[in-house]
Symmetry: C2
Subunit: 340 residues, 2 copies
DNA sequence: CTGAAAGCGCTTACAG
DNA sequence: CTGAAAGCGCTTACAG
């Protein structure tokens, strides 16, 4: 039904081997033949069958990308970085999301054999590491992103969430805030745990006299909204709220808005991630910028070439403090950045 | 290097045919054998080689998705819809972006043969239709999204941008606005042209005494910002600005903010798409909601099953007017919706 | 420089 | 119910 290499060979009056060599630009084909083959292939609209090619050449020019999710600003940015490098290197992307379902994650990982030359995997769950390790196809190069896989030799790039959270806390304390509440992320999430750890350690390091004040959350906007509502209802409110990610900060901001609480005048509010929306809200959100696209791009590079891997300076990405209006210096503001 | 079906066959003391049948759940395998094969396969951590399987079975369980871009709120939503249906149907997604480069688009399309069972394609360029038609692998089912491909039998789902723009204009006019400027999208973009056409036709239909007022744009936030700056500098400004998409509206809003122009008090501002950010900006943006995820999901369903295709009520998606604060009734506000 | 042939790892009629 | 064999459409040593 479809035109194959045989059809081209017949029409060009050469062997399939020659067609293959001609079309793949091998040097050992005389130019005249090459041109004829190309012309016939074009005329017949021949398109090589990728599965057949992969099977014999053992290359797919495809990278598998297995993520918890495909949408939302975080993953959108991650995919942007991955996609950019993929295009530079002529790689296709086979993407798969598993939505927290480890069964699906395992199935996706297993299904990658014979489809891809390498794998980019993000699995931020703390309790699923054994499962993950079992499902990764051996003999396929793998680069992990923000994934905690103890006792594994795999390369793993990660955001330095701990340092980031420490920096944010230092900023809040320097701004003069004292009672700082933290809206935590999911308990079994690696990033969330590190951010929480940063919050805690910052308190004991910078202000040991201050108490911890932790509200639960799940990284979703709704949970931020809920936490915001709880805070609004409190007799004594914190000076500042540090949400473990921007989406929760946004939800919290919305709750504050509904309750007529002024940010930052009454309560400062900060997030983490610097999603594009962060600078559009009112007031613009102080946050830790995580270069997510960079993380994805770098992971792709490390997967694709040994040089990038040898560099070894790629493992950790320290987020950058982005001060906007929401963090409200109680003491005079010292800097201002990024308003575009 | 990798364990193949032969290894499993040998270890289970059956033929490869039986292994294949056992693992694929064919009924004609006696249970005891099936269990043994499964046990051996598990123990050896056998993973079928997808390319080999595809080559012989002529199925890939993969859908190719070729889009102008992979990131940003629009594509993120589109992918969400596609991904959801993909997961329901056990399909993998091979994604490819071509960033407006038709050469790349052609290459991506051609490379799909043997990798996918069907194709979802978005190509909103008006001038590239011939190119597109030439690159589509014949004999592969294709569903187009927001793509203008004249003289083609292919199914094409589309947002009814024209009707949407008309509705928005009617809203603005009903709000009492008279001088309504339009920030257009790219000239060779299908959606952009339809939205512009809606703007124009609405003017002549609802308010033939009003003049057209069109500023150029390219759907990017920057171009909206630039247009906003121009408007700010005008001696006589419009009552309302209708940006052909939300990103431009956001850029415009930002410019107005910089110039101290109050929205909606001094100028009303509306967009198109209802990206998530639209309701977070200040003031929240009146816009036309396009159910982008629905478009993607439906396209996937139509591609995957004949029933959905037979339904035939899927072709056109009419956007929904979402009134928020930015469109500023000059006459008293009549309704208010969606504030979450 | 070119062709015949083996082989990539599966699935699937075809026999039995 | 099971196996031997052909075949999917390529690529790649191996000869010549």
């Amino acid at each position: 039904m479809n035109v194959t290499i045989k059809d081209v060979a017949r029409a060009a009056k050469v062997s399939v081997a020659t067609v293959s060599r001609a079309l793949n630009g091998h040097s050992n084909v005389v130019e005249e033949v090459r041109a004829r083959v190309q012309a016939v292939a074009d005329e017949l609209r021949y398109m090589p069958h990728a599965a057949a090619r992969s099977l014999s050449s053992r290359r797919t020019n495809t990278v598998g990308v297995v993520l918890p999710d495909l949408h939302g600003e975080f993953f959108s940015e991650l995919i942007r970085g991955i996609d950019q490098v993929a295009r530079e290197r002529g790689q296709y992307l086979l993407v798969s999301s598993y939505h927290g379902n480890l069964q699906e994650q395992g199935a996706a990982l297993r299904a990658m054999r014979g489809r891809v030359d390498g794998l980019l995997v993000m699995s931020p769950y703390l309790n699923a590491t054994g499962f993950l390790a079992d499902s990764l196809p051996q003999s396929l190069p793998v680069v992990l992103m923000n994934t905690h896989l103890p006792s594994s030799e795999l390369v793993s790039l990660r955001i330095d969430n701990y340092t980031g959270a420490m920096q944010m806390m230092r900023h809040l304390i320097e701004c003069g805030h004292r009672n700082i509440a933290f809206i935590a992320g999911p308990e079994d999430n690696f990033d969330a745990r590190e951010r929480l750890r940063g919050y805690r350690d910052a308190l004991s390091a910078y202000a040991p006299y201050l108490a911890e004040w932790i509200l639960p959350g799940n990284f979703g906007e709704d949970s931020g909204h809920e936490a915001g509502g709880q805070i609004a209802a409190m007799a004594k409110r914190p000076d500042a709220v540090f949400a473990a990610n921007d989406m929760m900060a946004l939800g919290c901001l919305y709750a504050f808005d509904q309750h007529g609480i002024q940010v930052p005048e009454q309560i400062a509010l900060v997030g983490f991630d610097d999603i594009p929306m962060a600078r559009y809200v009112h007031p613009p959100l102080t946050t830790m910028r995580v270069d997510i696209a960079e993380l994805g791009g770098k992971a792709m590079r490390v997967l694709l070439d040994a040089d990038a891997k040898a560099a070894s300076d790629y493992v950790s990405f320290v987020p950058k403090l982005i001060i906007r209006a929401s963090s409200a210096a109680k003491i005079p503001r010292r800097q201002r950045s990024d308003s575009s």
